[in-house]
Amino acid sequence: MNSETIRAVVDCLIPPDDFPGAYEAGVCNYLDRLLQTDLAEHADFFRAGIDAIDTEALAQYNARFEALTPDQQIAILAGIDSGAVKTSWPVAPSRFFEMLVNTTAEGYYSDPQQGGNRGCASWVMTGFEEAVES
């Protein structure tokens, strides 16, 4: 599983704006930990799905996912989300994508002790916690 791919994928799911995107918030740390613990049984499934995203990008745009434009990235992920893939997938695309979206949100919005939500960024963003003025 290419770390540049997963980084680009999670930032497409929760993009940076004036609040951190998923990668900067630590979602990849969260996913690493989860795939070694609670989702260890599904780690191969998950990694195969990430690899298949790159395969899909190469087939459609002749480049790896992280090298695509934002619009191309969104188009690739929307295709996987709806099951409209152009290549032969080793795992069920929609099922994989649901797991990807859910775990990314978990890393971004749950407590920082899980490995993501660095600096409680999403809690400040949502207003769940007040930002501390420095």
Binding site: P15, Y109, D111, W123
Partner: protein, 546 residues
């Protein structure tokens, strides 16, 4: 072997109270709890593993490994489920039981909740029945639970529907911005609203602190111990008498009987210093307070040649009528911020629709909701037409987490005898005890009432000026979950009930069930205060028996 006056299985809402009443009456009591006594730190603040959102585990037991159940879906397919899965219908397994991590809404049932069959008739396929006791009979025990444990609220507003002799001992939680919005719109609709009664100290009460307004009531433990459970009230009282022995990590296997079928005690597995032991304790009285699923399981697993189908099960009634609540949920996008970060979050309710709705059997209470951590909100509360990912999803979370009004409520369950607990002899837990098998659904009339209540929720939010309103509705499912009830219901006829009005198993002098299992119907309210009131009433009766 030690001989007790009474053995109580389960230290939750009911078991803790029974232990306290009996111990204070001078009885020697053994209180068995399958889980541990959990500290605040042990319950923790894990947003993904708690009693409300249990994606990868939960925080109040039972352990994920070795405690499966069998769940049979409405299509008849069965599968193994673990304790953190929704279909497990879990309740916490620790000292205090569900009260350790609940939200603590402390409603009395409505007088009509005790006479559902008389009021509405019995729809085909339902086992709907009246309770053998009335609201008036239980009223003094509601009052006792409210005052001995400590409930905050204002009972005067709904006095004409749910009469009481005495108000709550504590003032209600303060209003939030969403309270004002919902109160104004309810007034415009002609609906009466009331503060939500809570087993939470709004002032120092009986030696415990008051609420500090943190955001972690439901699913978590209270940092100041202001949330009231049996673990910080009646169980310490029981232990202080010196008459109550509490054994944790003690898993009941079966109720023991002699060769004439009389109940003599309990066999159980207890683990101390990591080593499991099989033990038997004898008592003049056995009281099962393990929750509607585990209480039924224990009776069904207590088989002998005289009771081949389990204790109290001569008429195939034990485990039937499993019920809880369907919860329609409605959400509305408010023009202004309604979240102020101060818990518990639930502040205002209406009981306008608990009864007398045209064409509907029963109904339910509607209230705003406890504060949801953002990940819980993300899973639970987003509009169905919102993309699940991308910048639009992020912006919705950013701008609207504090602007979404929530209304939800428990719908009175119309019991179905086929919604039930049985035991599966082919699947055993880590102690070798046959596990609970859950099958069937609630009655279709419950779904009709839930649909009616979902519409009322949307109506309330539209009247509150919400620019966008959405809702979710459960279908025809088994409704047990944390509000599980009904599996050993009270009644006068042994052919259609399991116990008498005191919780005594028909045909047995010294075997009682005291918990939500007794509920003939489960009201359109959170059931814990009714469980507590029944526990006080039955325990007082048992204390006077000998």
């Amino acid at each position: 072997m030690k001989n007790y006056d009474a053995i109580i299985v389960g230290s939750g809402a009911a078991g803790g109270i029974v232990a306290c009443v009996l111990a204070e009456a001078g009885k020697h009591v053994l209180l068995l709890e399958r889980g541990p006594a959990l500290t605040f730190a042990e319950v923790g603040r894990d947003h993904l593993r708690n009693q409300r959102l249990a994606i990868y585990g939960h925080n109040a037991g039972p352990e994920l490994i070795g405690n499966p159940r069998v769940f049979v879906d409405p299509q008849g397919r069965s599968r193994l489920v673990d304790p953190h899965e929704l279909d497990y219908h879990n309740n916490a397994a620790c000292v205090g039981g569900g009260t350790r991590v609940y939200g603590a809404q402390a409603w009395r049932f409505h007088p009509d909740d005790f006479r559902m069959a008389s009021k509405y008739g019995v729809p085909e396929g339902s086992s709907l029945a009246d309770w053998p006791i009335s609201y008036a009979t239980l009223e003094p025990f509601y009052e006792r639970a409210e005052w001995e444990l400590g409930v905050a609220g204002d009972g005067n507003i709904i006095q004409s529907q749910i009469p009481r002799r005495r108000n709550y001992p504590l003032p209600p939680v303060p209003p939030s911005p969403q309270t004002v919005a919902l109160q104004n719109s309810a007034r415009a609709l002609g609906w009466v609203t009331t503060p939500v009664p809570l087993l939470i100290n709004t002032e120092v009460y009986r030696g415990r602190s008051s609420c500090i307004g943190c955001k972690y009531c439901v699913g978590f433990a209270c940092p100041t111990d202001a949330k009231t459970g049996t673990q910080n009230t009646v169980i310490p009282r029981a232990l202080a008498t010196g008459n109550c022995e509490l054994k944790t990590a003690a898993v009941a296997e079966a109720i023991e009987t002699d060769d004439r079928g009389n109940v003599t005690g309990i066999s159980y597995f207890v683990t101390s210093s990591g080593t499991p032991q099989h033990e038997t304790a004898r008592a003049r009285m056995v009281i099962v307070s393990a929750g509607a699923i585990e209480s039924a399981r224990l009776l069904l697993n207590s088989r002998s040649s005289l009771h081949p189908a389990g204790l109290g099960n001569e008429h195939d009634q034990v485990g039937r009528n499993l019920q809880g609540h369907l919860y329609p949920r409605a959400y509305g996008l408010s023009a202004t911020k309604v979240f102020n970060g101060i818990g518990p979050g639930v502040t205002i309710a209406t009981i306008q629709f608990n009864h007398d709705n045209p064409g509907i059997i029963g109904g339910g209470m509607l209230a705003d909701d406890f504060i949801k951590p953002p990940i819980d909100f993300w899973y639970d509360s987003l509009p169905p037409d919102l993309p699940r990912w991308g910048i639009v999803n992020k912006r919705f979370m950013r701008h609207n987490y504090t602007r979404v009004l929530h209304v939800r409520g428990p719908v009175q369950d119309i019991p179905n005898p086929e919604g039930r607990v049985s035991v599966d002899n082919n699947v055993r837990d880590k102690w070798g005890i046959p596990v609970a098998r859950l099958s069937g659904t609630t009655h279709p009339a419950t779904v009709e009432a839930a649909e009616f209540m979902r519409e009322r929720g949307e109506q309330w939010l539209r009247a509150s000026g919400c620019e966008k309103v959405w809702s979710t509705q459960p279908g025809l499912i088994l409704s047990g979950r944390q509000h599980q009830a009904g599996t050993c219901r009270m009644g006068n006829d042994p052919a259609t009930s399991v116990t008498d009005e005191w919780g005594r198993i028909h045909g047995h002098n010294n075997l009682f069930v005291i918990d939500g299992s007794l509920h003939v119907t489960n009201g359109g309210f959170n059931p814990v205060l009714t469980i507590m009131a029944l526990a006080f009433r039955s325990a007082e009766y048992i204390a006077q028996m000998t």
